[in-house]
């Protein structure tokens, strides 16, 4: 049979997380279909059709799917579920929102945030914020899976699948989208940024975070923080990287004035390269950092900005 990947998009563009989930789905060994649920999302479906390994794209174009409201998306996926062996979604806030509803209705366990497909029924997933890795085997029957997209490469845009329009499912009518407020920052999101620069208690105040902002602007990086910095009121909670905050795995993570508490390390230790600036050479962060600089951050950050300017950033 076939695997179905639910597309992540904003009705205009297909998000890269979808291409990564397609890679995970392809590893199950069955043909891959992609479901685009959206409103006026034809361009998204066309983009999905170009992903290598995709056999068919289903497009459900309806006003109730404009914002991927969980109750509506659940009904749509369930209307298609009979034809599929596996249903996958990227572990975005959307995927995490609607997919467990589907699993519950199908009476199957969901396998959350897989990191690796060991075999078509066996997967690795993080527990304890990545401090342990669990290898789980799914039972016979349908598989419902969310994919930790930082763990898979994006499928390339070299394919040419067909797009089939499908009809919407009945609107459950129990919830509705009211509005949204997306951060206007030119900077990328913390969880999808290629570079993250985070500050800790060592930043001493919220005002001092502008030292990080300047570097972030040059590198097109997201700005994060440790729980200590959030608890001290320097920055809002949505900056928090760590076990109870956001888990990030960028190409480069720069930790500034962060000692490296267990709970912070849990949120960033899968980064490809870690650089740390801290004046305490005994700080635990240096045990996980590829590059450590023992220095006063108030001197080091302006120097770094200058250095980057010199290099043309």
């Amino acid at each position: 049979m076939t695997s179905l990947v639910i597309a992540e998009h904003d009705n205009k563009t297909l998000k890269e997380q979808t291409a990564k989930a397609v890679t995970a789905a392809a590893q199950l060994g069955a043909p891959v279909h992609v479901l685009v649920a959206g409103q006026d999302a034809g361009a998204v479906a066309d983009a999905a059709a170009k992903l290598a390994g995709v056999e068919k794209v289903l497009l459900a174009d309806d006003a109730q799917y404009a914002k991927l409201v969980a109750e509506s998306v659940e009904a749509l996926i369930l209307s298609l579920a009979d034809k599929y062996d596996a249903i996958l979604a990227p572990a975005t806030t959307n995927g995490k929102n609607y997919l467990p509803r589907v699993a519950a209705k199908l009476d199957v366990p969901q396998i959350s945030e897989i990191l690796k497909v060991v075999s078509p029924d066996t997967f690795e997933r993080p527990i304890y914020a990545g401090n342990a890795i669990q290898t789980v085997q799914a039972p016979e029957g349908k598989k419902v899976i969310t994919v930790r997209t930082t763990a898979f490469k994006a499928a390339e845009a070299t394919g040419s699948a067909s797009v089939e329009k499908i009809s919407a499912a009945a609107d459950p009518g129990i919830s509705k989208f009211v509005g949204e407020e997306l951060s206007k920052s030119e900077r990328p999101e913390l969880t999808s940024a290629k570079i993250v620069i985070s500050g800790g208690r060592g930043m001493q105040s919220g005002d001092n975070f502008h030292l990080l902002d300047k570097i972030a602007d040059k590198l097109h990086a997201a700005v994060g923080a440790s729980r200590a910095a959030v608890d001290a009121g320097f920055v809002p909670n949505d900056y928090q990287v760590g076990q109870t905050g956001k888990v990030v795995a960028p190409e480069l993570y720069i930790a500034v004035g962060i000692s490296g508490a267990i709970q912070h390390l849990a949120g960033m230790k899968d980064s490809k390269v870690i650089a740390a600036i801290n004046k305490d050479e005994e700080a635990p962060i240096f045990q996980v950092a590829d590059y450590g600089l023992v220095a006063d951050l108030f001197k080091a950050l302006p120097e770094m900005e200058e250095e980057l300017t010199k290099l043309g950033y």
Binding site: K67, A70, E71, E74, T93, N94, K96, N97, P100, R101, V102, A103, A104, V108, P109, Q110, S112, P126, I127, Y128, A129, G130, N131, A132, I133, Q134, T135, V136, A138, P139, I174, S175, F177, E180, L182, E189, S192, I195, L219, N237, Q240, T244, E251, L252, Q263, K269, V273, E281, F286, Q287, D290, Y291, G292, L293, V294, E303, M304, E307, L311, Y313
Partner: protein, 250 residues
């Protein structure tokens, strides 16, 4: 309106978890256990609703070993009115938890169930959504703000890239994110009072739920360890290495 608050007993978030040498799981022996941090936020929100006169009763539920009664006591000390302990030993998967909670919801008839968005042990992020689906209720997950209306709830949610507001019909499920509130510390008199509050003992069989795990955990291992790298002496050297050695600057 009654509010139901499921709370889970997990390894304290400050404890460094250790994987057992036989790869069967993580070591729970002599480890400090606490209420799942997200669940503390749930209890706080429910108690605030009661203090504002919007909730009539706050019922804390835990599904777990006998010691999970301590987790319920913590909720009672924070202001919950009574508890229900569904005793189960061993891991219970989110789907089974959701089925048990469905049974409790049918018996208790709450107007709102407030759950943590995930437990910090298995990191599944499923139970609230599954419970909502099983009940046919709407959900507001990863809540950042809650406003109750007449027969509706307006929930502001933390989503990738910002905030989203949904309006759901009640009864409904809400799962909470970190920014919803700051949980209180229980005062000593309230801790004493909590000892007198009732806790009902139940079993999964009371709700007709089989808690045998469906997923087979083949092993639990340590994640690949990072090696400490090199110390650089200057900022210029750091930038140079990031650019030319690691190749991670754009």
């Amino acid at each position: 309106m009654k509010v139901l608050v499921p709370v889970k007993r997990v390894i304290d978030y400050n404890v460094k978890v250790r994987v057992k040498a036989d790869q069967t799981g993580v070591d729970l022996a002599n480890v400090k256990m606490s209420m799942n941090p997200f669940d503390e936020i749930c209890v706080e929100e429910a108690v605030r609703l009661k203090e504002k006169g919007k909730a009539t009763e706050v019922v804390a539920v835990s599904i777990g070993p006998a010691q999970a009664s301590e987790t319920i006591r913590t909720a009672l000390a924070m202001g919950a009115d009574r508890g229900i302990l569904v005793k189960v030993d061993g891991d219970v998967e989110p789907l089974a938890v959701a089925k048990i909670l469905k049974g409790i919801v049918e018996a208790e008839q709450p107007g709102l169930v407030i759950l943590g968005k995930q437990a910090i042990d298995d990191d599944s992020n499923q139970t609230g959504q599954m419970l909502a689906a099983l009940l046919g209720w709407p959900q507001g997950t990863f809540a950042h703000k809650l406003e109750l209306g007449e027969g509706t709830a307006r929930i502001e949610r933390e989503i990738d890239g910002g905030l989203q507001t949904v309006e759901v019909k009640t009864p409904a499920i809400m799962t909470v994110d970190l920014r919803l509130n700051e949980p209180r510390y229980a005062s000593l008199p309230n801790i004493m009072k909590a000892k007198k509050k009732p806790i009902d003992d139940k079993t999964p069989a009371d709700y007709g739920v089989d808690t045998a795990p469906r997923l087979k955990v083949l092993k639990v291992t340590e994640p690949p360890k990072r090696q400490a790298g090199v110390k650089v002496k200057t900022v210029a050297e750091l930038v140079d290495k990031l650019k030319n050695e690691a190749g991670v600057l754009p």
